[in-house]
Amino acid sequence: MSIAPPALEVRNLSVAYREAPVLRGVNWRAPASGLTAIVGPNGAGKSTLLKAALGLVPRLAGEVRFFGQELRQARRRIGYLPQRASVDWDFPATALQVAAMGRYPRVGWFLPLPRAERERARAALAEVGMADFAGRQIGQLSGGQQQRVFLARALALEADLYLMDEPFAGVDAATERAIIDVLHRLGREGRAVIAVHHDLATAPQYFQHVCLLNGGVVAAGPMETTFTAENLSRTYGGRLSLLDEAALRPAAAPPAGRPLRAVP
């Protein structure tokens, strides 16, 4: 790997909510750029890893560095995309107003947003194909459209590292396509994306790196060498269904240049 510091480095991270720890002594260095999937069974601590790294949940022990810096110093370079279900979509705001929230950290929280900044928020909406819905109240959007608005808000942050919590959860095929296009654009620009991902079939097609997580890191590295049936069965502890395994077989060794899964 290059000399660039990892986008995210976690040392000895432990987190507990009430009783048993969710994460136990996690050590992981995410690559400085490119798309990385965090994969693991339910309750493996995938979302918790992102939240603990961002200081949203208290950690029992451990250190976190972003681009070699403390969170405080690197905050401007980090963008967070929470799970869509974590907010109340009945909130009185339009799609454009939500996207514009991504500009506040740069412009300041107290002054009105200058026209140029509003245009940047609008451009972020356009990139996810939501330009026509800018004035729509967010509760009147479909689930996929809401997810795109969330992504637009993250894009408006213009971060170097994005932490995304299940960006593909519950979205239609067109939205999945739009999101993956944006992720690939970010990757081409040398930015880093770390996303919690659930679909084992698409993980090797969408992401270049993987972190297999179950309480601790089971394996992490480039997709081709890490995303193996053996590592997966160690991660899921034999709980992988036949369906999952069937989905994995062609994906475990993807032929070079294989196109993305066909989406209309």
Binding site: R18, K51, L54, G55, L56, R75, R76, I78, G79, Y80, P82, S86, V87, D88, F91, P92, A93, T94, Q97, V98, M101, Y104, P105, W109, F110, Q137, R153, L157, L163
Partner: protein, 311 residues
């Protein structure tokens, strides 16, 4: 009575009545505007718990004043006591619910019960004190704008205006916090401090409203105008000023009505005016109102029937 009401509403009832109406309206403005954020952050029950937890503080302040030989009806003193125990109640509810020890609603019901229970018990201690003015305390329970001094009304006015100014300054951070607290925290907003500021403002508005509206109904002016405004608009930038105006109107009307008929408790009058406005919005709001909904449903049914016939 109509003449007295007209006088009170048109500010022609003399200096004192004018200032009282102004103080009440300022409180309504602040309560309505702040109430939007209280509602959107899911803090309406906390506001009610805080209001009920003011009673022990009111009584303790009265007892303290009586013991020290101060004026036991001094509004700043009573407000200070009320704010102190209300803050304790809010912190207690937070501590009880932390880490999932107790459900939020159970924690708040507990604070309401304990706060109000201790308060009522202390009221009987207050009644037995050998000083005058005990009857004044009951106006803090149901609210009584009539008979308020101009100095008290000015205090309420300035406190409400300060809270309103704080809401205006914190508008954007509070909006982001209410919509998505995790995003706000990740983006560098001091979420914990913002939540504390929201609670502090809520306490300030609560104690500002105690004298006129009373502790049982003060939460109505934070919740009802905000809910009314939410029915009428899909924009926070419209909702907050609208809720403020609705709150100010309700408080103004209520204070006027109770000036005209002093036997009416002001709190009830104000709350009923606010609820009447809510009912109007519930029926006639452009998109979310009951009438608009019924018309839309009928049109959709007709369209579906037409399509079925032509098919």
């Amino acid at each position: 009575m109509m003449e007295a009401l007209f006088q009170a509403l048109t500010l022609s009832g003399g200096y004192n009545a004018r200032v009282v109406a102004l103080g009440c309206a300022a409180f309504g403005l602040a309560a309505g505007a702040l109430g939007c954020f209280v509602l959107l952050r899911g803090r309406a029950l906390i506001a009610d718990a805080a209001a009920h937890a003011t009673l022990p503080g009111l009584c303790l302040a009265f007892i303290l004043a009586a013991g020290m030989g101060w004026n036991p009806r001094s509004l700043p003193l009573l407000m200070g006591g009320a704010a102190a125990t209300a803050a304790l109640g809010v912190l207690a509810a937070g501590a009880l619910a932390r880490g999932g020890r107790l459900r939020d609603d159970a924690a708040m019901a507990l604070v309401i019960s304990i706060g109000f229970g201790i308060g009522v018990a202390l009221l009987s201690v207050v009644q037995s004190l050998p000083v005058g003015g005990q009857a004044g305390l009951s106006s803090f329970i149901l609210g009584q704008a009539a008979g308020m001094s101009a100095a008290d009304a000015w205090l309420i006015f300035w406190l409400a205006l300060a809270a309103l100014a704080a809401v205006a300054v914190l508008f954007r951070p509070l909006a982001v916090l209410c919509f998505d607290a995790d995003f706000a925290a990740a983006a560098g907003l001091p979420v914990r401090w913002l939540d504390l500021a929201l609670l502090g403002l809520m306490l300030a508005v609560t104690v500002a409203g105690l004298r006129a509206v009373g502790l049982i109904l003060v939460v109505a002016l934070m919740v009802v105008p905000a809910a009314t405004a939410r029915l009428s608009t899909e924009r926070l930038s419209v909702m907050v000023p609208l809720a403020g105006l609705l709150g100010a109107f309700a408080a103004w009307m209520g204070a006027g009505l109770s000036a005209a008929a002093p036997s009416l408790p002001t709190g009830a009058t104000i709350a009923l005016v606010a609820c009447a406005l809510f009912l109007l919005a519930l029926l006639f709001a452009p998109a979310r109102g009951v009438v608009a909904f019924a018309l839309r449903q009928r049109r959709l049914r007709q369209e579906a029937a037409m399509e079925a016939r032509s098919a």
